[in-house]
Amino acid sequence: MSERMKGILSPIIAIVLFLLFWEWLVWYNDWPNYKMASPSDLWPAFWKFRDLFAMYAWDTLWRTVVGLALAVVVGVAFGVVMGFSKTMRTALYPLLVGFNAVPKATVVPVVALIFVGQHDFNTVLIAFMISFFPIAVSVSIGLSTLEPEYRDILRALGASKLTVFWKIALPKTLPEFFGALKVASTLAFIGTNLMEIVEPHGRGLGHLFDSGKINADYPLMFAVLIALAVLGILLYYAVVILEKIFAGWAEREPTY
């Protein structure tokens, strides 16, 4: 089997196996829908609300992507500051950790109260707040553990710290950066949905989840979760494509 085919088939097989296992689990335990719906229950729910799914998925997706983009910008900025200065690192890390240990679900109402009615802004804000930390951590580690041999190539030419960052440190840490981006993108989805569920404003998959909840329509609720998972996977593949372009060099194929 060619490498290419393997790359396409293996995730499909894994997902199918997972769905089969899920179906079996529900069937074997004879769980009612409200405990856990099985994949075969979800399809009708999807189909019935297909238009809503499409529309709301788009709402959720664009807010997530905007939030994530913001997280990348701010995360990289934090990472650079913390990576280059040990003092800033020891000073900022505890603050950031404290901030991130606070459940965002409890922050949502506060944000909603401060920026009343700015639903899109609020949602993007929460998506951003929940997802920038892994990016900041990965960039700061990339910088603070950069081998001097690499740094010196450019420093010997009188290059500024910023140049060293762009030409050496960032490219060298790209694999870790993309790993952090994958983690951050799943977090951003969680953030978007938190806002949509906790402070509903009639848009997004979170809203559809709520509707399902009101009607005790469990298959719909599970279908929304699966839709979120699918969106997450879509965004993941977008990140993978970026990674192939920018950090393809890093992967070392074992010769054995």
């Binding site: 690499y150 010997a156 030419l157 490219p171 790209l174 950090a247």
Partner: protein, 263 residues
């Protein structure tokens, strides 16, 4: 353009935890503009340290490094440096690695002109067909040659080479010696060369400095009296043979007799 280099009474020690390891001890050395100086000395005596001080990557504990009488406090873009360990950036192809300095240094060439200059250098060192390969696809000696090109591409005023030919076979090495001498004829730059190969030092340099064991002091300075247009044959002249013998002797003295000692 080339510069005068002055190493004046430079001392340096590395400190890790409580321990301090003195490496250079009141070292004095001058390289007149446009001249080439080779530095030889036992392993671990402080030669690479000297290059880091001369390039401004490190500041000496005491003493001063000057370029054209001006004190060096930080690295400058007019220096070209080939490190002992030729680190290439894995995410760039060979030619992209070589043009890297052109992306930092100010100049008024187009990207294409830069690439052309890099390509020419790569051809000179025999890597024409490896321009677009990744560093991991090169052999050790090929990487070293690419690193040499990277040091030369921006036409530096001061060229610092830390054992640039160590991983090359005798013939490739001799070819590169000749290329270096040609380059010196065309473009004028000052050179500081670290090497273990005495023939190399005599062939390439105008002055050979022998360092003593750690902490290194200047143990002996040899003025190379070979004619300007040297060929490999020149190394077999009685003059050259005598110089090589002197250097061997001086190094033997410098070495005292081996055994590394940490402070």
């Amino acid at each position: 353009m080339s510069v005068d280099v002055g190493i004046e009474n430079v001392s340096h020690a590395y400190t890790t935890g409580q321990q301090s390891l003195p490496v250079l001890d009141k070292l004095n050395l001058t390289i007149p503009a446009g001249q080439f100086t080779a530095v030889v000395g036992p392993s671990g005596c402080g030669k690479s340290t000297l290059t880091r001080l001369a390039s401004g990557l490190m500041a000496p504990d005491s003493g001063a490094v000057t370029l054209n009488e001006e004190r060096v406090t930080s690295p400058r873009s007019t220096v070209g440096m080939a490190f002992q360990n030729p680190v290439l950036l894995e995410w760039r192809t060979i030619i992209e690695n070589v043009v890297l300095p052109m992306e930092i240094v100010k100049h008024d060439l187009t990207r294409n002109q830069c690439l052309k200059r890099a390509a020419k250098l790569l051809e000179l060192v025999g890597l024409a067909d490896f321009k677009h390969k990744r560093p991991s696809e090169l052999s050790g000696g090929m990487r070293q040659r690419a690193s040499l090109c990277r040091a030369l591409v921006h036409k530096p005023d001061l060229l610092i080479l830390d054992e640039p030919f160590g991983a090359l076979d005798a013939f490739t090495r001799e070819d590169l010696w000749q290329i270096m001498r040609e380059l010196r004829g065309r473009e004028s730059f000052t050179g500081l060369l670290i090497t273990h190969d005495l023939r190399e030092s005599v062939f390439l340099a105008d002055q050979v400095v022998v360092l003593s064991g750690r902490p290194a002091t200047c143990q002996y300075v040899l003025d190379v009296t070979l004619p300007e247009d040297r060929r490999i044959d020149s190394l077999y002249t009685p003059e050259a043979v005598e110089m090589l013998a002197t250097l061997r002797e001086q190094i033997e003295i410098a070495q005292g007799r081996k055994q590394e000692v940490a402070a």
